[in-house]
């Protein structure tokens, strides 16, 4: 009787969360896996049937990785974009957090607010801002500034000029993402720094530490768990982010393939690209790519949790259950 009551209570409290997870995560996951075994195209339900070889899409992706020059660009772009943006987001966030931590309170509040602006701006507005900034015509902000200064005498196609690729396209998408992403690390690290007992910082000063020594020997070691957490979190979210890049690619300000990460490739393959993009969409192929991305993400996530010592962080609740 008692156990039955307990189970009923458990069910009652867990059901809402479980229904949401099932509806918006487990069911779509199952559908995606199924679609990846089909040759679905152009959202036609007629094409939604299992392929003779269900793993054909996967085999095709691996073949593309070796022989399709455009897809090779996607793979390179994904690796470079994820790792470089990650490094900037974590190290930049750490640097910003330490800088505002060491600042006077009023100044610190101002700078923290400033760095949060990109995150508070709607994605489309933010992307539009940088679209105009890097625009290849003489109306582009960067071109206009450099021409006014006399550095260049005719507009540069920053994101698409073959002579600048892939570096310029990579620089643009990384820059645009870092400006948004860096504030996440800054917020987490700043609040972690603030929770270090004030006396420890003073003690280090009295012990003879310069600001650099304080940062190196006290501040950073004190927040090393936060640094690992932000690294993992950012790694996983960078693997799957595409919103900002999608708009820049869609509007043609950067080269399509040298700016497409794996996640964006999944999106454009399934939903197509406006303007000069291909007219056909391939849901089966996109689903297979999405499954691979999910597997890579899950693998990295599990590995990270092991490295972080997730079990050590989950402390059994105190008091009676």
């Amino acid at each position: 009787m008692k156990m039955a009551g307990r189970n009923a209570a458990l069910l009652f409290f867990l059901a809402p969360a479980f229904i949401l997870i099932a509806l918006f995560y487990l069911v779509p996951l199952a559908i995606t896996v199924y679609v990846s075994f089909t040759d679905m195209q152009n959202w036609s339900l007629y094409t939604l049937r299992l392929l003779p070889n269900p793993l054909f899409n996967y085999a095709r992706l691996f073949h593309m990785m070796l022989y399709d020059p455009d897809f090779v660009k996607v793979v390179y772009t994904t690796i470079v974009f994820t790792l470089v943006t990650l490094a900037f987001n974590v190290l930049g966030g750490l640097g910003l957090a330490i800088a505002v931590y060491l600042m006077e309170e009023r100044l610190s509040g101002f700078f923290r607010g400033l760095w949060l602006l990109p995150r508070m701006t709607p994605v489309a507005v933010y992307a539009l801002l940088w679209y105009y900034f890097f625009l290849g015509s003489r109306d582009g902000t960067l071109n206009a500034i450099l021409m006014a200064l006399g550095v260049i005498d005719k507009p540069v196609q920053w994101g698409t000029d073959p002579r600048l690729l892939p570096w310029s396209a990579w620089a643009i998408i990384i820059y645009v993402n870092v400006l948004v992403g860096v504030s996440f690390g800054m917020l987490i690290f700043y609040s972690a720094l603030r929770s270090i007992p004030w006396e420890q910082v003073i003690a280090a000063r009295v012990d003879g530490a310069s600001t650099l020594q304080l940062v190196r020997h006290i501040l950073i070691p004190s927040i090393r768990w936060h640094i690992m957490f932000v690294t993992v979190w950012q790694l996983l979210s960078l693997l799957t982010t595409y919103a900002h890049i999608f708009l820049l690619v869609e509007w043609g300000v950067v080269d399509r393939w040298w700016s497409s990460t794996w996640a964006l490739y999944v999106f454009t393959t399934a939903f197509g690209l406006g303007g000069g993009g291909p007219s056909s969409t391939y849901q089966g192929l996109a689903a297979a790519a999405a499954v691979i991305l999910a597997l890579v993400g899950a693998g990295l996530g599990l590995l990270a949790l092991r490295l972080l010592g997730f079990r050590r962080m989950i402390v059994p609740p105190k008091g009676e259950l």
């Binding site: 007992p197 420890q200 009295v206």
Partner: protein, 366 residues
């Protein structure tokens, strides 16, 4: 080792004046306690000496060196915090070695000095542990070791014993006093606990609301408090304070405490003649209780309110009019609440304070 000198040092936080015009000298090798209630400015004073705060005005000297604008890492002071502030991510060894590593001393010298100071404080067997694995008393010793290892000119202690249990506190107190005498480091010890200050220090600085109230040896602040604050703060329980009137008797000034009239001798009565009212003070341990007024004593009639039994002594609270008065008596003395008794005090043990300025009239020049 060095003399520490403050010259009219003030510290303001916005509009709040934390310290007002403090001029003090801490002699080379002395042990000084800064004693005051919470919020009195005593920790602010310590942090000014450490260099954590900069004074709003005034100068601070270590010997001949003007350190007023010198950051803490250049001052060579050792500081022990109330909560010890050990670095949780370092072992005890690394905590103690930290100040030496910052100075980039050779590895073998660091090792030698860490082990030396660990031996001095009896923590040699704890060197490999982390702070979270230590008891409060052990953490306190590690914090002391970290402060001492760099051979500071000045040792600053901010309520270092207040997080320890009562027994351990008394044990470490004695060790601390011995250690300071052996090392001869100029030591400044902040505390709100007057028994610690009286027990440890060569000299006590009593501070309240940002102002120095009295500077003196433990005997001086106990026997001759400069004002009502010091009289009411020092001693356990502190001095009794009873308002009284000045009356004229055969041409000289006398003190009327309730129905009791006490006529002091010449120099004192002349001083008293300038007042209409005074506050009479005496220490609970300087009075006795009797059924009758005692000869050659000032006897005040009072009603017993309650008796606290402490084992080695009892504290009797009585009411003189509406004023509560405490008297420390032998454990065998347990008067009935409600009974009438006489509080007998030797005249020499009485102190008189001006209610306006709160000054002990002993300190007022005629």
């Amino acid at each position: 080792m060095v003399e520490v000198r403050l010259e009219s040092v003030s510290k303001r936080f916005g509009r709040v004046v934390a310290l007002h015009e403090v001029t003090l000298t801490f002699e080379d090798g002395s042990f000084t306690a800064i004693l005051g209630p919470s919020g009195s400015g005593k920790t602010t004073l310590l942090y000014l000496i450490a260099g954590i705060y900069k004074p709003s005005s005034g100068r601070i000297y270590f010997g001949d060196r003007d350190v007023t604008n010198m950051p803490p890492n250049k001052r060579n002071v050792g500081l022990v915090f109330q909560n010890y502030a050990l670095y949780p991510h370092m072992t005890v060894y690394d905590n103690i070695a930290f100040p030496l590593r910052l100075k980039k001393l050779p590895r073998d010298e660091i090792d030698r000095r860490v082990r030396e100071v660990a031996k001095l404080l009896h923590i040699e067997e704890l060197l490999e542990r982390y702070p979270s694995q230590l008891s409060g008393g052990q953490q306190q010793r590690v914090a002391m070791a970290r402060a001492l290892v760099k051979q500071p000119d000045v040792l600053l202690l901010d309520e270092p014993l207040s997080n320890l249990d009562a027994l351990l506190r008394i044990k470490i107190r004695a060790e601390l006093k011995r250690l300071q005498k052996d090392l001869g480091i100029t030591t400044i010890y902040v505390t709100h606990d007057q028994s610690e200050a009286l027990a440890l220090a060569d000299r006590i600085v009593v501070i309240d609301r940002g102002r120095i109230q009295q500077v003196g040896t433990p005997d001086e602040v106990y026997a001759r408090p400069r004002n009502l604050f010091v009289a009411g703060f020092i001693g356990s329980p502190p001095a009794n304070l009873i308002p009284a009137k000045i009356v004229a008797r055969s041409g000289s000034a006398c003190v009327a405490i309730g129905d009791t009239v006490y006529c002091p001798d010449k120099p004192l009565s002349e001083k008293l003649a300038r007042f209409q009212e005074v506050i009479v003070a005496f220490r609970p341990e300087h009075a006795t209780l009797g059924e009758e007024p005692a000869e050659n004593m000032v006897s005040i009639e009072a009603e017993v309110y309650t008796v606290e039994t402490l084992g080695k002594e009892n504290i009797v609270t009585l009411l003189v009019g509406a004023t509560p008065v405490k008297v420390v008596v032998e454990p065998s003395v347990r008067p009935q609440p409600g009974s009438k008794l006489f509080i007998n005090v030797e005249p020499e043990k009485l102190m008189f304070f001006d209610p306006e300025t709160e000054l002990n009239i002993e300190y007022i020049e005629v």
